[in-house]
């Protein structure tokens, strides 16, 4: 064999393999970067950081469920049945308002027919920089419109081995496709499990620093305006079902241990957020912090903040029925009530 034949054979062989691999990624497209899922192909549940952008751009829907892990337990089938919509789950594990706000904007830009957005407004992320993201390593090649960096997707060994091949095998086996809302991994928990993970801080009586408090409120204002309210204002025809996730009594205990004034500052922030959000007619705002039997029963939780999947279903139903809704007329009474309750609760009883 000559050097010419050898070299050209390698170049031909390698070009053929590249076309095969790249072609299969384009056709299967496990992250829906190029197109919607193909009929008859058994896709698997992917990681939200990789599939959300594709779902937002290429799926057919008119409603969005988004937020942090607090919304990941919501099943689209339940939301569809309750609200009479066709929804997709675009939640992000470990993310704050920025990423969840961005994906809503993308969804709306690709689907102007969207009529409903269900979104968690997590108190844990109130005080974050407006550009803060929980993760740095997002696959930007999936999120941007630059076709030149799609090579990172097309010729990616892990995509091919862990996403494309398994899909082909699943399809050959006749397995059903994933629903892409199967993040409901927290099926069970219970009091013992919650307390095993919860580290109670030492009792302190911290008095919040005024300058620090002002800075926190400034950050909250920027975060809220930039990542939540902006989308609400620019889309008056979309109904936004926003809810404050019901963290467990352990979360309140943590605040209380740091100091009653710290807790009151947190409640003041919540009041601030409620006031800002209730200015918009297309917002339906809900909070379950006054659902004391839920919050104080740790059997409803898997850790100090995450509730079990059954609670997710309840939340959807309550929102649809208008239960625990906050309005201009009732929010101040709500704040007073929960302030009194959580300031005076017997937190030591949690550990008995």
């Amino acid at each position: 064999m000559s050097g010419r034949k050898w070299s050209l054979s390698i170049l031909l062989f390698y070009t053929g393999l590249l076309l095969l691999v790249g072609g299969s990624v384009i056709i299967i497209d496990p992250f829906f970067h190029f197109h919607a899922p193909l009929e008859g192909v058994s896709y698997q549940q992917g990681s939200d950081q990789y599939i959300n952008d594709g779902i937002a751009k290429h799926f057919e829907y008119n409603a969005v469920i988004t937020g942090s892990s607090m919304s990941q337990g919501f099943e689209t089938s339940e939301a569809d049945a309750l609200f009479g919509v066709k929804s997709v789950n675009l939640t992000y594990l470990g993310e704050g308002f920025k990423k969840t706000g961005d994906i809503v904007d993308v969804a709306i830009s690709y689907h102007p027919e969207i009529k409903l957005v269900i979104r968690s407004i997590d108190p844990l992320w109130f005080v974050s920089d407006v550009d803060w993201q929980g993760h740095e390593d997002y696959p930007e090649y999936l999120y941007d419109d630059n076709i030149w960096n799609d090579t990172d997707y097309l010729f990616n060994r892990e995509v091919f081995a862990n996403e494309v091949i398994p899909v082909i095998i699943r399809t050959a086996q006749g397995l059903p496709a994933a629903r892409f809302d199967q993040y409901a991994y927290r099926l069970s928990g219970g009091k013992e499990a919650v307390l095993a993970k919860y580290e109670r801080p030492e009792k302190m009586n911290t008095i919040p620093d005024e300058a620090e408090t002002q800075e926190y409120f400034n950050m909250l204002e920027r975060n809220l305006q930039g990542n939540v309210i902006h989308t609400i204002k620019t889309n008056p025809e979309i109904e936004f079902y926003l809810f404050l996730p019901p963290y467990s009594i352990c979360w309140w205990d943590d605040l209380h241990q740091r100091g009653v004034e710290i807790m009151k500052r947190r409640l003041a922030m919540e009041e601030y957020v409620i006031e800002k959000l209730l200015l918009y007619e297309n917002v339906r705002l809900f909070s379950f912090f006054n659902h004391y039997s839920l919050i104080c029963d740790l059997n409803n939780y898997v850790d100090s903040v995450h509730y079990a999947s059954t609670v997710s279903s309840d939340i959807l139903r309550w929102m649809k029925n208008g239960q625990y809704e906050l309005t201009e007329e009732n929010y101040q009474e709500y704040i007073r009530e929960i302030t009194t309750f959580y300031s005076n609760y017997d937190y030591d009883s949690i550990f008995q």
Binding site: G3, R4, S7, G134
Partner: protein
Amino acid sequence: MVFHSYLFILLFLPIVISGYFLLNKICKYQLALLFLCIMSFLFYGFFHPVYLFFLWGSIVFNYIVYLLFQKLSKANHLLPYHELIRKIILIITILINISVLLYFKYFNFFIDTINLLFQTNMVIRNILLPLGISFITFQQIAFIIDAYRDEVFPDSSHFVRSSSTPRPYSKFLLYALFVSFFPRLSAGPIILHTEWFPLLTEDKRKKINWDYFANGLYLFAMGLGKKVIIADTFGKAVDWGYSNVLQLNTCSAVFVTVAYSIQIYFDFSGYSDMATGICRMLHLDLPLNFNSPYKAHTITEFWKRWHITLTRFLTKYLYIPLGGNRKGSTRMMINTMIVFFCSGLWHGASFTFILWGGLHGFYMILTKRGQALIDKIPKVVNWGLTLLFINFSWVLFRSGSFTVLKNMLTAIFQMESGGLSENICALIQIPVFHEILGSFCPYWLETALSLIIIGILLFRCRNLAEKAKNLKYSVFSIVSITLVLMISIMSLSGLSTFIYAYF
């Protein structure tokens, strides 16, 4: 732009090779060289176009100095103090080149040192470091010194006229390409103009040579594999180890040092192999830069096998002008230490690099002085001691600061019991090897097997340069090279594992 990127492999390199040979085929030889030059500029300025101003400025300045030396040589009988003027110009030019290098690479190190010594608070600057500045500077200093000695383009034998082109090649173009040629711009090897100019102008090199091309393709593919499959894999463990040095027990700390020895060799030599491979595909040659350095029996031998062109440069342009070993043993020792301190400083702007260089210089002196004793020791013992020294001296090289150095040395010598950290084992996942073994092999076994295979490659197998000389054109080699190329290309991008910290 880097060699191990989709853009380079799938677009840039095919365009360069096709464009170069196409232009030569239609007898546009100077245009072909200009094309290479422009593509080199594109490569250099890809991420930071502002780099190009440095490169162009450097090329033009040094070429003007060369022209000045030429004019002075011709007018030597007219000018009084002719030789003194030439020497002054040489010194000023070298100082300017070194000053530019010092500013970009060492200004912040200088500020940090002043702050440390005099407890001041001078602010460091955000200086954009031009790519390959050390290589570019050294190469041009060598050229200027040779120009001073009238050893550059002394007669027509240094650039051969093409039989089809009446005019000689543009010297400026040859020089610009000599400085900027992309395969060796960022990581060497350091080439001499005497090696380079004849290659660019030889008629027979204008046409594609398929044996050269095959050789080049082989070297590029395998070099890419060394870098992406092996070096980057071990690099993850090294990065984790050095970021979590306080958590390491002795076993893990030692493993991290070994992993770094593997990473730096496969990374650097892989890059050199890719550079050589690209040149071979273009029917050009680069000097050998790595020759199985971890097989060296003494430190002297190590430096004849590791970064060979740097050793050559420092020997020719620093050690010998200082007097070498011609002025007695004391002077030899001083000269050796100067060369190695410079080598350390050249590698990085930190005291740990200087210490690394000094340590090697010291060991080199000990070896030279104790050669008679070393000759009596069994070769395998010499090899073991040399490898041990090299492995641990890399700790200085990688640490970057005395704090990290201290922590790593503490971790190594604390004699804390315990096995290899699971976190480290989990990171040693050589592509495809991991996919095959991962499902039934515990992490530690996979790591152990990986080390064994690397050991065989390093100590028992011929290196790529040796294998390339005996490349067999067979179906087996077609399949294996293609697979290495495919696995490497497909390992350029992965999927991030998002650590779920709390939410």
